[in-house]
């Protein structure tokens, strides 16, 4: 080809080459990362990186369902997100030890306070199990049960309680 033709073509190609990369989507990668981070803020242990609109997720989730939910939430964070690479590892974590009070003396004090307003109810405790007898208005039963559960006993046995 003649140089006269080639030169403008090279100019065009050069211009396009310069113009294309700067033709970015609405948000920059940094902006997208910030948006994704607000979405996953309640999921500890998940990190994100964003490159050219592709979000990569890493970290640990406690179940497949949680892993999938995080991906769905992230995808919905912004339509500029091209895709999500989900490298989250599912690792079933045993739940933290739940404290249960089996000290009968401290439970006994707690049940005195909890049943103070229910004179027709009697409660005793043995080996961490609170047993309740007597009568109580149905609508008030939840108040009593909540107060007893707050003591963290092994069990609250209301089977002998009569509601009116």
């Amino acid at each position: 080809m003649e140089l006269k033709r080639v030169f403008p073509m090279l100019m065009m190609a050069g211009t396009l080459a310069v113009a294309m990369p700067s033709c970015k989507s609405k948000f920059s990668d940094a902006d997208l990362k910030a948006k994704v981070e607000t979405v996953i803020t309640s999921h500890q242990g998940i990190t994100t990186s964003v490159k050219d609109g592709v979000v990569t997720l890493e970290g640990f989730a406690s179940s497949d369902a949680e892993k999938a939910q995080i991906e769905t939430d992230v995808k919905a964070a912004d339509k500029s997100i091209k895709s999500v690479v989900n490298n989250i590892i599912v690792q079933a974590v045993p739940p933290a030890e739940i404290s249960v009070n089996t000290v009968d003396e401290s439970l006994a004090k707690g049940i005195v306070d909890a049943t103070k307003d229910f004179p027709t109810v009697q409660a005793t405790v043995k080996d961490g199990v609170i047993s309740v007898t007597g009568t109580i208005e149905k609508a008030k039963l939840v108040i009593l049960k909540q107060a007893l559960d707050n003591l963290h006993p092994k069990k609250v046995d209301l089977s002998a309680v009569v509601t009116k």
Partner: protein, 139 residues
């Protein structure tokens, strides 16, 4: 696992209602549930669901203690007794002398929590003492 199945709706609702620290485990045949609810409404909703699955809580399957995130020192709480006044006591126990009273629906200030059952409060009349937390609900 059987109890977790029976109370699946309760646990699922807790999870989807913003209880991020939900923790539960079956111990000695009882499903122990712990967590912090974002509001008193969420806590009440969970108790309603629990009561539907286990009418009158008769089976004793569950011990559930859900605290409310907004019940913190300095927050305001409402007295939710049935109709009577709530005693304000000198110390955290029903054996303690009564130093004042707060009326049903009165709004008082939570100063601190002595423990889960007894909270130090102050009324607008500057009566200060301990109330049984079961009868206080975050505003």
């Amino acid at each position: 696992m059987a109890l977790e199945e029976k109370y699946k709706v309760l646990l699922d609702t807790a999870r989807s209602s913003g209880i991020n620290d939900l923790n539960y485990a079956e111990q000695d045949g009882v499903l122990q549930i712990r967590g912090t609810a974002p509001s008193a409404d969420v806590k009440n909703k969970l108790w309603e669901i629990y009561g539907n699955i286990d009418p009158n809580f008769a089976t004793g399957d569950v011990v559930m203690d859900v605290e409310v995130a907004t019940e913190v020192p300095g927050s305001e709480v409402r007295v939710i007794t049935d109709s009577s006044n709530l005693n304000i006591r000198k110390g955290p126990g029903t054996d303690q002398p009564i130093v004042g009273k707060a009326a049903k629906d009165e709004i008082i200030t939570l100063i601190s929590k002595a423990n889960d059952q007894w909270w130090l409060v102050r009324t607008k009349d500057n009566e200060e003492g301990y109330c049984f937390a079961q009868y206080l609900q975050t505003v």
